[in-house]
Amino acid sequence: MVDSKQQWKAWLYLSPAIILLLVFTVWPIINTVRMAFLDGYNGLAIVGGARFTVGIANFQKVIGLTSFKTSLYNTTLLCVLTVPISTLLALLIAVALNSIKPLQKLLQTIFFLPYVTNSIAIGMVFAAMFNIVGNMGTAGNDIIITAGIINNLIELFGGEPINWINAGSTYAANITVMVVYIVWNALPFKILVLLGGLQSINRQYYDAAKVDGTPRARVFTRITVPLLSPMLAYVIITGFIGGFKEYSSIVGIFGEDMGPAGAPHRLNTIVGYIYDALPKMNYGQASAAALILFAIILVVTMINMQVSKKRVHY
């Protein structure tokens, strides 16, 4: 316990952090809740000197909007697809990395590179990889010119190039690109955490399993995965939280239009919707959407926690 005469010093030393947190974290949270529950709260209306009644009109409005429904659908779809895929891939890669001795450090570094690279930059690289450059020729005699390495590969193996992200591309193609990109982007952190977990598993469990002649698949499912379950739970929970906040990855590939040319906002997410509402000064709706996002993340995390109670062995 700090001597009471010295307490003011403690507060003094803490004050820079506390003041910053109060101004930039605590107050915005409180203000978000306030704005969300003031019916029709809007930047223009404030200027007009309007007074707002407390209510849930912002929420009703937001939920009724097609643009919000699209955003919610996209966000959920990307989450449900990318979190399991990236977790599974990260697990396999981590196990593989852990089992090789030569070049392990180098490979670890390579796998970690995407984590320290700007996601917009990565997005642009991916956009280039999945690119397709226009249609040439006349009706009935289309020549598609491809400049993306993915389509080049497809053509190399005798397939038809696919319009991934350009004008006229399908929703399925867009989502596929997003899933590949998000999974790839999510891998390094997950691999890092899981590899750390793997390396902290006592080798003797594996020796014991070896003495008993345990097949490799069984070692993986019955020993590695259960002993890694705390890390897996952590990676999955943070994966869902990050997944519901998906935004910059889509900007990285499709730009701020959040969709291919000709179909803007087709791939919008909840965070994207919130950002879109702000320039229109729809602060009330943006706040309501933010709170809905918060509620979704809370529920999903609680479900995750419930599942981990049964499945995670600490």
């Binding site: 006592n202 003797q204 469990y205 020796d207 014991a208 070896k210 003495v211 008993d212 002649g213 345990t214 097949p215 069984r218 019955r222 020993i223 259960p226 002993l227 379950s229 062995h313």
Partner: protein
Amino acid sequence: MKVVLQNLTKIFPSRDKKAGKEVVAVNDFTFEIPDGKLIGLLGPSGCGKSTTLYMISGLQKPTGGKIFFGDDDVTELSTENRGIGLVFQNYALYPHMTVKQNILFPLQNLKGADKLDKDTMLERAYEVARLVQIDELMDRKPSELSGGQQQRVAIARALVKMPRVLLLDEPLSNLDARLRLQTREEIRRIQKETGITTVFVTHDQEEAMSISDMIVVMKLGVVQQIGEPQEVYDNPINLFVAKFLGTPPINVLGGRVEGGRLFIGEDMVMEVTGVADQPVVVGIRPEGFELDDNGPLCCTLKNVEVMGRDVSIVSSHAASLNPQIRSIINADHRVDTSAETVRFSLKPHKVFLFDAGTEARIPYEVK
């Protein structure tokens, strides 16, 4: 199943390439472990005892030499095909499985002709659980068990496949003193009941002596002596073995032999027929002293510790290579604790002579 180790050698390459010095963990170990016996591998840390055990288990490959189980050469055989049970130092029980699942685990791995149905597996698991007396704890997790109970589960898991050889790595080191006594008797009982050839590793000489049929004393990868515990204790082959066995440890003094007589300091303490004149190291077991007012060995009395059955006399002598001399005598003798000196005569079969240079035992005839 007898286990034969033939010129077994293990060399670890040096970790630091610049230093370039490899470590010989086990050097030319040859020994035939008789069927159904309990063998204790004994030595200070780094003596190669665990490496030997892991080579028998197959988790480590020997650099040279061969290992036979019965007449089968198992040197190149992988661990899982050797039919061994191994109990790890910290038991390595799977923390996320119940005791029952832990014991069943090795059985569930059996393939082909050995495959068992569920009921047989359970039956076997309970059978071995009863043997080690943990059948009441089958639904608990390892974290809910005491150290001694975990130890038993580990033994049960090792035994459930009915191994040809049971290997235990420092089986008692994680237990408290009382549990250690109890568990070592338990290990002895289980070994006797199953009749499985068992090898265990320990650095605790008392542990090894108390339950082993035979002990192997090792130092820096080299086997020093192999024999029945009492035989090794009574007839240590060199100073290292003599020092390593026995609590309290043997007293070591500098002395010399002149004309068939042993001198410690200026005192002529014993006749040692047939020993050439030379400086020697004298080892005297604590129980080798007898209080004798006319005894030849005169020591400065420092302390007397009464232990009930025995009395432990702590004294010092100028020739002693240890800070003090500890002797244990029957409590029937009253010791004058106020005296400044104490005189002993020595029991000849408790006194060992060693070469001052090589530390090898110098035999002499006891008259």
